[in-house]
Symmetry: D2
Subunit: 134 residues, 4 copies
């Protein structure tokens, strides 16, 4: 098991009447993990936007393994799986911090857009930053 | 009981592990009701924004009476309580459509801002539109 | 283009600062479409739960094509792609009602669980109901 | 300014097309602050539920002062304003951590219910725990 990128505690509002975290909210956890991964590489997504780039999600995939429950601490593991000239794919594993059980895994694929909303090659510093861990 | 401004059905994602709609989501229903009230007066909030005005919520109050449950149809009753030169207060009652039971009531107060984010008097057409029912 | 299963209007709260519907909320639209598809087959998901079955999402995939914007009416097209003894896969297409443009497509896969949280074969009436359109 | 009960960073999904945190989400921050306040007094809300009590929100009030923006760190200040035999009122101030600016303040009032959903006096340990700071 990897060192988690960040952790988050499950709120009541994110549970549903099955008594578990509703499937919708995992994409929210993905965003949180991704933002912290980027920050830990020395830049914030906010800064990326200020520099004129945006990385909207163009594809997402989630596999729900076990349920997260109210008040659980979730460990978010994030890495870059693949980076191309103008797209990047992040990979996620969400674990229950208490025992490391895998709750959800998946990926999101992002396009790099300029301020004009057109596809753009990543600028060099982003390309270096997004290079997959080896 | 009034004719509802609009209706909405409770989704699973809006329930929590108490088996009822979580308190957070009622502000979402307020937005839905308010948007439809405005539309029924002949203008959309989208159009108001396009004309350079914005009506952010500056205050909100909610009183939760009974629980809404999954798959319930909710009737949203909306009216304007008070309109001033640059503020307007909407009032809401959310009822279970099946039996008319009052589930939640409250209000939101909005400021009228211009594109520069400064307080603005309502333009005449908005002022007429927002005049409380008598 | 198919007859949509249902339609929904984009709320302000579902937009983000890119000025479009945030990627997270499409799983919410999937739930809405799925619930209405089931209802139109003569049963509600609520009723399925009351009869002791639950169909949690075990996998989800989303491909974001174009942006949905505030106040857009979205057409939700839903169908069953595949049904097995104890799993079912729904397929979705979300279109802008105004021009039919495809905004998002994807699928969700569901397991059939009993009240004991164990995998169960679909009861006969559900199996018939979920049979893919031909 | 008080020591904040906890802090949280604004996610992209919580902004709206005005470029600020949407009004709905502050009730979510209230829940987060309240949960951490309770935990810091030596008990979790999860534990309270396990002991057979529930504290649903019966009233909420929010006053929005300034806007929170993407990636802002928010400081959540929470205290108990008033506790009676079977109700408790929490008070909140949400500040931008960077400069202490007050963004939102408000309160939530909660009823104490037993497992049977009936109003219950707080058990002694909860009553002591909820006693307002003096």
């Amino acid at each position: 098991m990897k060192v988690p990128t960040t952790q988050v505690r499950v709120l009541y509002v994110d549970t549903d009447q099955m008594g578990v975290v509703n499937n919708v909210h995992y994409l929210r956890y993905f965003e949180l993990g991704r933002a912290e991964w980027i920050r830990q590489r020395g830049k914030s997504y906010k800064r990326i936007e200020e520099e004129g780039y945006r990385l909207p999600v163009v594809e997402a995939h989630l596999r729900y393994r076990e349920s997260a429950r109210y008040d659980d601490i979730l460990s978010l593991e994030v890495e870059v799986e693949d980076v191309r000239a103008a797209t990047v794919q992040f990979k996620y594993a969400i674990r229950r911090a208490a025992d490391g059980a895998l709750l959800c895994e998946g990926y999101t694929k992002h396009a790099c857009l300029g301020a004009d909303n057109k596809l753009r090659r990543f600028p060099d510093d982003l390309l270096v930053m997004l290079r997959p861990d080896t």
